[in-house]
Symmetry: C2
Subunit: 418 residues, 2 copies
C-alpha cells in the first residue's frame, strides 16, 4: 500500500470526528498516503481547528465525488447515518463507522451490501472503543467454534459500579460520572443496559451469526443496585458488574444484566471506565481483551486501525469480508436460561418462615444453595442463593414468595455468574 | 475467498503439527477451501492419525510442487526450518510458522524476503500462542505510537511462580511443572528467561522496529526466587512475575527479568500457564490481551487464524505486509535504565549499620524509599526499596554494600515494577 494515496471524507466533526481528522492529517506517510478531502458538518461557518475549505454541509458532494475512496461516519444516531452508509457502499466506497446503533440495527444488511459492491465496511470502534477486539474475532478467530462471549461493554455503568464498590451510593456515583462527562444528563441508555445491548447484538452477529431482536435480548440495568448489595457481594467474595453474556452451548441466548461475579474472575478486575471482552471456546479456552471503552482518542485509534485495514484492501481491490458465521443450533428464550439467583428478603422473624419460603422454591423445582438470616424481629433479613434453575421457575418462585404474609419485601434480586 | 481451494503442506507432525492437520481437515469449507497435500516427517513409516499418502521425508517435494500455495512450519528449532522458510518464500509460497526462535533470529530478513517475493509470512503462534495479539499489533495498532509493551510470555515460569505464590518452594514448583509437561527435563530456556527473550525480540521488532541483539537484551530468570521473596512481596501488596518489558520513552530498552509487581496491576492477575501482553500508548492508554500461552490446541488455533489471513491474501495476490515500523530514537543500554530495587540483606545488628548502608547508596546517588529491619542479633535482616535510579548506580551500591563488614549476605535483589 506504499505507493497509493487515498482520499478520505469524514461525516461529522464533533469530539470524535475532530480527533479523527487530526490523526489522519498527522498520520505517518510511510504507513499510507491519506488526503482528507471533505468533512461533512451542519454549520460550515463555525470556527474549527481545520481549514474551512474542507467543510461541506451537503452529503451529495461526498457521495458523488468519485475521487473519494474512503468515508468515516461519526455522526451518531441512526439517521441519517444509515442511509448515508448504504449509499456510499453502493458506490463502492470503503466505509468506517464508530456507530453501534447503526451496526446493531442493520449490520447484517450493510455487510451484505458491502460484499455485493466489493466495498469495505469496518466498525471496530462500535464495540469497546479503543480495544482492537472485533478484528481478531472476525479474522483470527473465524476458524474457532466459540461457546461464550462475556463483556463489560459500557464504560459509564462500570465507572459507576466501581465507585459504588468503593462506597458511593448510586446517586453519588451517577452525579460524579455526570460531572466527569462519562454519563449524559439523561443517563438512561448507559445505566439501563441499552447501550450494552446494542453492542451485544454486534458481538452476537460476529461471534455466532445471530442478530437477536430487541425482544429476544433480555436487558436489565444497574439503577436498582444499592450499597447494601455491594456489601453482600463483598461478604460472598464477589463484586457486581453489568455484563453482556452470550452463550451458545445448549442453545443460543444473549442478555445484558448485572451479575454478582467472583473477585477472581478476570472481569472483576475491570475497573472504572474500562471495557473488556472475554471469549471462550474449546480450543482457545479463555481469551480476555481489555482497555479503554470510551473517549475520543481511543475511539479515534480504533478508527485509524480500520482506515489502515481499508487502505490495505483498497490497494488490492479485494473483497474485504471474512464470511460471516452461519448460525447453527437453536435459540433459547430467556425464560429457559438457567440462572443462579441471589435474593434478599425482609421477613417477619417467626417460626416456619424459612420452611414456607424454601417450600415455595421446592414446588418450583428450584433448589437452594445457601441461606443466611440476619437480624431479628422486624429487621430480620433473609439472604438466599439458588442453584442454577430456569429463569421462569425462579421468577415464579419469587412472585409466590413476595405474596407470602411473612415476607415484607423482596429487597433485591441479582443473578450470580457461575 | 469463497471460490478458491488452496493446497497446504505442513512441515512437522509432532503434537502441534498433528493438531494443525486435524483442524485443517475439519475446517468448515464455508470459510475457505483447503486441501492438505503433503506433510513432511522424518519417518514416513511411523503410524499416524492421517493417511500415509500425505507423508514425505523429502522437503524438495514440497518446495518444488507448484500446486502448493501455503506451507505451515512447525518443526521447532532454527535448523533446517529457517532455510526452508526462506526457500519457500522465494518461491512465492505463503508461509506460517509457530517458531519463535526463527523469527527472533531472522524475522526482519524473512519479512523482507516475503515482501520482495510478494509472499505471505505470518507467525501469530510464535508469541503468546493462543492469544491473537500480533495481528492487532501489526495491523490495528500500526498507526499508534506505542510507549511500552509488557508481557508475561512464558507460561512455564508463570505456572511456577503462581505455585510459589501459593506456598510451594522453587523445587516443588519445578517438579510439578515437569510432571504436568509444562517444563522440559532441562528447564533452562523457560526458567532463565531465554524463551521470553526470543519473544521479546519479536515484540520489539513489531512494536518499535528494533531487533535488539542478545547482548542488548538483559535477561534474568526465576531460579533465584525463594518462598521468602514471595512472603515479602505479599507484605508489600505485590507479587512476583517474570516480565518482558520494552520501553520506548526516553530511549529504547528491552529486558526480561522478574519483577515485584503491585497486586492491582493487570499482570498480577495472570496466573498459572496463562500469558498476557500489555500495550501502552498515549492514545490507547493501556490494552491487555490475555489467554493460553502454550499447548497444542491454542497454538493450532493461532496457526489456523494465520491460515485464514494467508488465504485472504492469496485470493487477492496482494502484498501482505503492513510496513514494519521504522525505529526513531535512541537505544538505551541496560545500565542506564532506571530501576527501583528491592534488596534483602543479612546484617550484624550493631549501631551504625544502617548509616553505613544508606551512606553507600547516597554516595552512588541512589535514594532509599523505605527500610524495614527485622529480627535482632545475627538474625537481623534489613529490607530496602530504592527509588528509581540507573542500574549501574544500583549495581555499584550493592557491590559496595556486600563488601561491608557489617553485611553478612545480600540475600536477594528484585526489581520493582513502578
Amino acid at each position: 500500500m506504499e505507493n497509493n494515496t487515498f482520499n478520505v471524507a469524514v461525516l461529522g466533526a464533533g469530539n470524535i470526528g475532530s480527533a479523527v481528522v487530526a490523526r489522519l492529517i498527522d498520520l505517518d506517510k510511510g504507513i499510507v498516503g491519506l488526503n482528507v478531502k471533505k468533512i461533512l458538518v451542519r454549520d460550515t461557518k463555525k470556527a474549527r481547528d481545520f481549514s474551512k475549505d474542507l467543510l461541506t454541509d451537503n452529503f451529495d458532494e461526498i457521495l458523488n465525488d468519485d475521487s473519494i475512496d474512503l468515508v468515516i461516519e461519526v455522526l451518531g444516531g441512526i439517521d441519517p447515518g444509515k442511509e448515508y452508509i448504504d449509499a456510499l457502499l453502493k458506490k463502492g466506497k470503503a466505509v468506517i463507522t464508530a456507530n453501534k446503533d447503526i451496526i446493531a440495527d442493520a449490520g447484517c444488511d450493510l455487510i451484505q451490501t458491502a460484499k455485493d459492491n466489493n466495498a469495505c465496511l469496518y466498525f471496530e470502534a462500535a464495540v469497546a472503543a479503543g480495544i482492537p477486539v472485533l478484528k481478531p474475532l472476525i479474522e483470527s478467530l473465524r476458524g474457532e467454534e466459540l461457546t461464550k462471549v462475556l463483556g463489560i461493554i459500557n464504560g459509564t455503568s462500570n465507572y459507576m459500579l466501581t465507585s459504588m464498590e468503593e462506597g458511593s451510593s448510586y446517586e453519588e456515583a451517577l452525579s460524579t460520572a455526570q460531572e466527569l462527562g462519562y454519563a449524559e444528563p439523561d443517563p438512561t441508555n448507559d445505566v439501563e443496559g441499552i447501550d450494552a445491548k446494542y453492542k451485544a447484538v454486534i458481538l452476537s452477529l460476529l461471534c455466532f451469526g445471530v442478530s437477536p431482536s430487541s425482544d429476544e435480548l433480555f436487558t436489565d440495568g444497574i439503577s436498582g443496585i444499592t450499597k447494601e448489595d455491594f456489601e453482600w457481594a463483598a461478604r460472598l467474595g464477589k463484586t457486581i458488574k453489568l455484563v453482556a453474556q452470550i452463550d451458545n452451548k445448549n442453545g443460543f441466548n444473549a442478555r445484558v444484566h448485572p451479575v454478582l461475579i467472583n473477585n477472581k474472575h478476570p472481569l472483576a478486575a475491570i475497573r472504572g471506565a474500562l471495557n473488556a471482552v472475554v471469549v471462550e471456546g474449546d480450543n482457545i479456552n479463555q481469551l480476555v481483551f481489555s482497555g479503554p471503552g470510551a473517549g475520543s482518542e481511543p475511539t479515534a485509534s480504533a478508527i485509524i486501525g480500520d482506515v489502515l485495514s481499508a487502505c490495505h484492501q483498497l490497494s488490492s481491490e479485494q473483497t474485504n469480508w471474512y464470511p460471516l458465521r452461519e448460525f447453527e443450533g437453536e435459540m433459547k428464550s430467556f425464560e429457559d436460561v438457567e440462572s443462579s439467583m441471589f435474593i434478599r428478603l425482609s421477613v417477619n422473624d417467626e417460626p416456619g418462615v424459612l420452611a414456607k419460603i424454601s417450600g415455595t422454591f421446592g414446588e418450583n423445582n428450584v433448589s437452594i444453595e445457601s441461606v443466611i438470616q440476619e437480624g431479628r424481629g422486624d429487621k430480620a433479613e433473609l439472604v438466599l442463593v439458588t442453584h442454577e434453575a430456569p429463569e421462569k421457575d425462579i421468577k415464579n418462585s419469587i412472585d409466590q414468595i413476595s405474596a407470602l404474609d411473612s415476607v415484607t419485601t423482596v429487597t433485591s434480586t441479582l443473578r450470580v455468574y457461575v
